[in-house]
Symmetry: C2
Subunit: 206 residues, 2 copies
């Protein structure tokens, strides 16, 4: 990596962290430069506006989805259904490690920026889409075990709404009661789908 690329990456990394922990509006360019250990002039060279930097962090998150979010979970679980619940456990771990400060980086920014930053909003939905495609694929891999009319895309959306809502309640209550309750109910739902799917498979083979 060239020195220039290295500086750019450092700025993106610093901005990503600050936007998550303090929000976009509360983060200043000078603070980002300081955290990255980069001179302000360098920051302005790469990112003339704070919005340019925001867009770069959201592009980076799209690239990092597979290596940083999915891959570690995929390596821990072979079963596609367990991979889905592994993602939910991963977000819980992140909340725990950061004492509820770091929830879902995308979700936070949606509520802050949806109204005012249309280009960022588009990048945020692209991030959701990447995550949804991965979870949809898990349900598609398990399709034979699910009821005939189970819709993998809709199920993926349901997992995402559960996760975003659970993160919000965990951050609000500063405990995991709601997070765990939501996951227990989602698990109960998926178990019922699997039981129903197996029944159908049995009646077909009978």
């Amino acid at each position: 990596m060239s020195a220039q690329q290295d500086t750019r990456e450092k700025l993106i990394e610093a901005a990503m962290e600050l936007f998550v922990y303090q929000g976009y509006a509360n983060t200043g360019l000078a603070q980002i430069a300081r955290k990255a250990g980069v001179l302000p002039g360098s920051l302005y060279y790469f990112f003339p506006t704070k919005e340019d930097l925001l867009h770069a962090t959201l592009e980076a998150r799209k690239r990092l989805l597979h290596p940083e979010v999915l891959q570690p979970i995929w390596e821990s679980f072979d079963d596609p259904i367990e991979r889905v619940f592994g993602l939910l456990a991963g977000h819980r771990r992140m909340l725990e490690m950061t004492e509820f400060k770091h929830g879902c980086p995308i979700g936070n920014l949606v509520l802050e920026l949806a109204e005012t930053h249309p280009h960022a909003r588009a990048l945020l939905t692209q991030n959701f889409e990447g995550w949804l495609a991965a979870v949809q694929q898990c349900f598609e891999s398990a399709q034979a075990r699910l009821p005939e009319h189970a819709d993998a895309r809709r199920l993926a959306v349901f997992v995402l709404t559960t996760m975003e809502g659970a993160v919000m309640l965990a951050r609000s209550y500063r405990n995991f009661e709601a997070y765990d309750a939501a996951v227990v109910q989602l698990r109960d739902y998926v178990e019922r789908l699997l039981a129903d799917g197996t029944q159908n498979a049995n009646s077909m083979s009978a």
Copy 2:
């Protein structure tokens, strides 16, 4: 209502609306006074700090839960399960009417204030608790139709996480695909619980 009380209510109403539409940090006291049609001096008399006003709006939301949020839905539906889905439809309608600007007022503020405003955070969870208690009661009223081990509190939490996540995705995508998908899956889950509950009731009476 005295003139004083009236001024106070106007300020709370104006602040409530501005905090929802633009966020807490982005709203200034002068703007609130202007919107309420009240002199700034009056505002400072009732609410010496913006935080005092924030707390007053969150107290007001607690009081408004029954008359403004629940009552209209309760009057439209007698069936406790339909009341739960009526609440989800109500939030969808609010998003539609406001072109995705007005999601869940409590959820928005949680992500903005959870880290920095501990007293507001406590009031936000009290608002969630009021909502959860009402939905829990719906499931308790339907307990005889649900499976034996169904947990009304956990189910209420699951409805809330679904709603908060669905609102977030609707605001992000500016359409209802994800919102509707999540509600379809939640409905499928509840239908399965009801079918299972009926089965149990039949086998007991048989």
